[in-house]
């Protein structure tokens, strides 16, 4: 009943327009590499001081949902993820678009985003309290083994040499090493360079590896004529037949996305990594992943939108933000004198229901806007690179600089861009680099927390049921993929050297 009231409320002009504005600006900002939803929300919070608190929350929520989805546009069309959460969409979305099917790639991504959001919305509305209590069972060992499993599942994510993929992954880990180490409160590998005290931050590294390196590559290949990318004539509106095939994948990926979203401190990019890896494992054609495969697009995009909904669950039920972006939402609530926490349902029930209803409607609005504008957005690829390259770099500068107002982060973008460019030239895949970078930090921290609590024993990996499950999956898959690799090598000893 409350939910119906909430929907009714959202469809009154005031709240609806704020939500719409949020979604539209979120998509726009999300599609621009360099600018992301988190930045937009943080910058908007002070502007909402004088607004009605529910309007403010709806506006910010819309921005969040919009930006998570908008990122797929640039990820698929330019191979530059618009937001960190859409990085997995470059793996299959871009190759598919490059093969001349940008319309299909966008339609899969947009449709999966919607369904992921709706599935998470259902969880949010129906199961928020039990889910958030269950999420508390996840301690250091569970986090560690879950991420370990994800790492194993996507280990062979890229085409080409396994050895180079591994090297690239370890380089990513290395990029995550410097700076203040939370596990013992000491600086590490900063070489006395104060700017490195906080290490290399996620956004500048990602902008460097994916965006800057691509800008350099685009300049190098500026004579390349429009390739095959053409704006699709067919509608971007997803077809029903297409979706029946993906329904299992979508449901699974949405559940994974929701679940990872609930876990505090884990971002949306990790949820799409886990679900991408899982989709690959369950797929009948795992070898097609990374070459423009529809299952890859669907799993990544369903998961990152579901993540946004999942992250709201602990926020609403316990006052614990599920992801960094939700901390901003939390902050906005505090500034509007709303105290989040378990009492929120009783003290501000209307707001909670509006928030949950708003999340679902934001996803639907996102879908409408994206479908209506995707055709026009796809023209980005046709823009003269002489305009596009400098402008995208400017956005990278603003995005990186705004993190902590320091030029150092801009240097990080340029440096990692050059590194990424050369690695790519030498056929080192860049996907494993960012996967290593993103996952290494959380794995090391959780493992060390676990060891601190177990007095140095590794046994909890096997004695805790959830950890054990993850470990078993990881081991089975590892064995399976090694055997598979060995078989394939044997089958084609001739081509070993060329695939290297």
């Amino acid at each position: 009943m409350e939910l119906l009231n909430a929907f009714q409320y959202i469809f009154t002009p005031g709240p609806f327009l704020w939500l719409l504005l949020g979604v539209a600006s979120g998509i726009f900002v999300g599609a621009i590499p360099g600018l992301g939803g988190g930045m937009l929300m943080a910058l908007t919070v002070p502007l909402t001081f004088s607004m009605d608190s529910t309007h403010a929350v709806l506006l910010l929520m819309g921005m969040h949902v919009g930006s998570v989805s908008g990122g797929l546009i640039s990820a698929m069309l330019l191979k530059m993820p618009g937001t960190p959460s859409s990085m997995m969409s470059t793996f299959d979305g871009y190759p598919m678009a490059a093969k001349g099917k940008p319309g299909l790639a966008l339609s899969l991504g947009i449709g999966a985003s919607l369904l992921g959001g709706v599935v998470a919305g259902i969880f949010l509305i129906l199961l928020a309290p039990p889910l958030s209590i269950w999420a508390l069972k996840f301690g250091p060992w569970e986090y560690f083994t879950m991420v370990l499993m994800a790492l194993v599942l996507i280990a062979s994510i890229s085409q080409g040499s396994m050895l180079k993929g591994l090297t690239s992954c370890i380089l990513g880990v290395v990029a995550a090493l410097p700076g203040l180490n939370d596990s013992d409160g000491n600086l590490r590998l900063t070489f006395g360079f104060e700017e490195l005290d906080d290490g290399f931050n996620l956004l500048p590294v990602l902008l460097g590896i994916f965006v800057m390196s691509q800008l350099i590559k685009d300049a190098l290949n500026i004579n390349k004529k429009g390739t095959a990318i053409q704006i699709a004539k067919e509608s971007v509106f997803p077809r029903f037949r297409e979706w029946k095939r993906h329904i299992v994948n979508i449901l699974r990926s949405s559940c994974i996305g929701t679940w990872v979203g609930i876990l505090p401190g884990v971002g949306a990019n990790i949820s799409s990594m886990v679900s991408y890896g899982t989709a690959k494992t369950f797929s009948k054609t795992p070898e097609k992943f990374g070459t423009g495969h529809d299952e890859g697009i669907v799993s990544a995009e369903a998961a990152n939108n579901a993540n946004a909904g999942g992250a709201l669950i602990p926020l609403i039920t316990m006052g614990i933000p599920g992801a960094p972006v939700d901390a901003i939402l939390l902050g906005a609530m505090i500034m509007h004198r709303i105290q989040p926490g378990p009492l929120l349902f009783t003290t501000n029930g209307d707001l909670v229901w509006a928030l949950m209803g708003g999340y679902v409607i934001a996803n639907i609005l996102m879908f409408g806007i994206m479908v209506a504008s995707a055709k026009h957005l796809a023209r980005i690829v046709k823009i003269n690179r002489a305009y596009l390259i400098p402008i995208i770099f400017i956005f990278c500068v603003i995005g990186a600089y705004a993190l902590s107002n320091r030029i150092f982060d801009v240097w990080v973008v340029i440096a990692f861009g050059v590194v990424g460019f050369f690695l790519d030239r030498a056929k080192y895949p860049l996907g494993p680099f960012v996967i290593g970078y993103v996952l290494a930090g959380i794995m090391e921290a959780e493992l060390r927390s676990g060891l601190q609590s177990s007095d140095g024993s590794f046994m909890p990996i096997l004695t805790r049921p959830i950890s054990l499950t993850f470990t078993i999956i990881a081991v089975i898959f590892l064995a399976y993929s090694i055997v598979n690799e060995w078989r394939m090598r044997k089958a084609s000893t001739q081509s070993v050297d060329t695939t290297d």
């Binding site: 943080a42 919070v45 002070p46 001081f49 999420a135 508390l136 069972k137 996840f138 301690g139 250091p140 700076g179 203040l180 939370d182 596990s183 013992d184 409160g185 000491n186 600086l187 104060e194 005290d197 906080d198 290490g199 931050n201 505090p264 401190g265 602990p314 316990m318 006052g319 614990i320 933000p321 960094p324 901390a327 901003i328 939402l329 939390l330 902050g331 906005a332 505090i334 500034m335 004198r337 105290q339 926490g341 378990p342 009492l343 993190l403 902590s404 107002n405 320091r406 921290a445 060390r448 927390s449 601190q452 609590s453 007095d455």
Partner: protein
């Protein structure tokens, strides 16, 4: 030469005149060394809004979030900013723990302290169904089995040092487990991954229904919210600490400019609506002078510095 000289003179005069122009004549930046959305950020913005609405500072104030490296990215920037009164900052006792840990080589003495606004009372707590019903039981259990009770912390920050100080004073040994920021720490207590952690009294009130229960508070006397919970002093542990919010400015900022800002801060704190907001944030709306803060921070520094080497020898 001939024509350059008057121009130069004129330029100098211009500079001097500019220097004499009434302060402030451009926006004042408030550096907050955390992400947007945190409690300190919320407080800075309460002041920002009040300065504007009540017209206490004639120019705009801008909150600049500079998160990273345990707040040292922001404090370092503040320290290196021009001491012209156009950059100030808001931070917490982390200013001394970062130096103790060897992350930076400066503390509050390398800044001008404007004062403190509001402090939150803190305490140690456990999960509702924890086997430790009282602090005495807790200490007894810790004595019976040293190094077995797990404390969720953020290593090197006050949430680590204060429980450690408590353990030292109470003569017990606790096991510290890195878990992270406030919400993650809370989740690790509620999920039974750790036994005890430090929270503000507001958190204890807010998350009472989620199953968080205080054992002991570190204030001077018992609090109205939890009249049954003893203070550390009552159980014979000499530890009285509150979590303050500290306003800083770069060393060498002219005192008249500091005074203008600190007057604005004081006036803000006297208004009823701000007081109310403070209370809802769990903060006591009191202004603390730089001298009071000095005493407090010196005491903290003196007590935690020897702890660092001890802590590291722990294992």
């Amino acid at each position: 030469m001939n024509c350059k000289f008057p121009a130069l003179l004129f330029f100098c005069l211009f500079l001097v005149a500019k220097g004499f122009a009434a302060y402030p004549d451009k926006p004042i930046k408030i550096i907050v060394p955390t992400n947007a959305g945190g409690e300190i950020d919320a407080m800075a913005r309460i002041f920002q809004r009040a300065f504007q609405e009540k017209d206490l500072i004639p120019v705009k104030t801008v909150v600049v979030n500079l998160p990273g490296a345990g707040g040292t990215v922001g404090t370092r920037r503040l320290k290196e900013a021009k001491p012209d009164g156009y950059t100030i900052g808001l931070w917490a006792p982390g200013i001394v723990t970062s130096k103790a840990m060897g992350i930076v080589n400066y503390d509050h003495k390398d800044f001008e302290v404007l004062g403190t606004t509001g402090y939150s009372e803190i305490g140690f707590g456990v999960k509702d169904d924890s086997s430790y019903q009282t602090i005495d039981e807790f200490i007894g259990a810790a004595k019976a089995a040293p190094n077995s009770i797990k404390v969720a912390t953020n290593i090197g920050l006050p949430v680590h040092f204060f429980p450690f100080l408590f353990a030292e004073e109470a003569g017990i040994e606790l096991k510290f487990v890195q878990s992270g920021g406030g919400s993650i720490r809370l989740a690790s207590i509620l999920g039974n991954h750790n036994d005890m952690a430090m929270f503000s009294l507001l958190a204890f009130k807010q998350f009472k229904k989620s199953g968080l229960r205080p054992l002991v508070i570190l204030s001077g006397e018992r609090h109205d919210l939890f009249p049954d919970i003893p203070t550390a002093k009552e159980i014979g542990v000499d530890l009285e600490i509150t979590d303050t919010r500290i306003w800083l400015a770069p060393k060498g900022t002219p005192s008249d400019r500091l005074e203008l800002i600190s007057n604005a801060i004081k006036t803000t704190l006297e208004s009823d609506d701000v007081k109310e907001e403070f209370i809802s944030l769990g903060l006591t709306p009191e202004f603390g002078t730089p001298e009071e803060l000095e005493v407090f921070l010196d005491d903290v520094t003196q007590r935690i510095t020897p702890l660092v080497s001890k802590m590291r020898k722990n294992r």
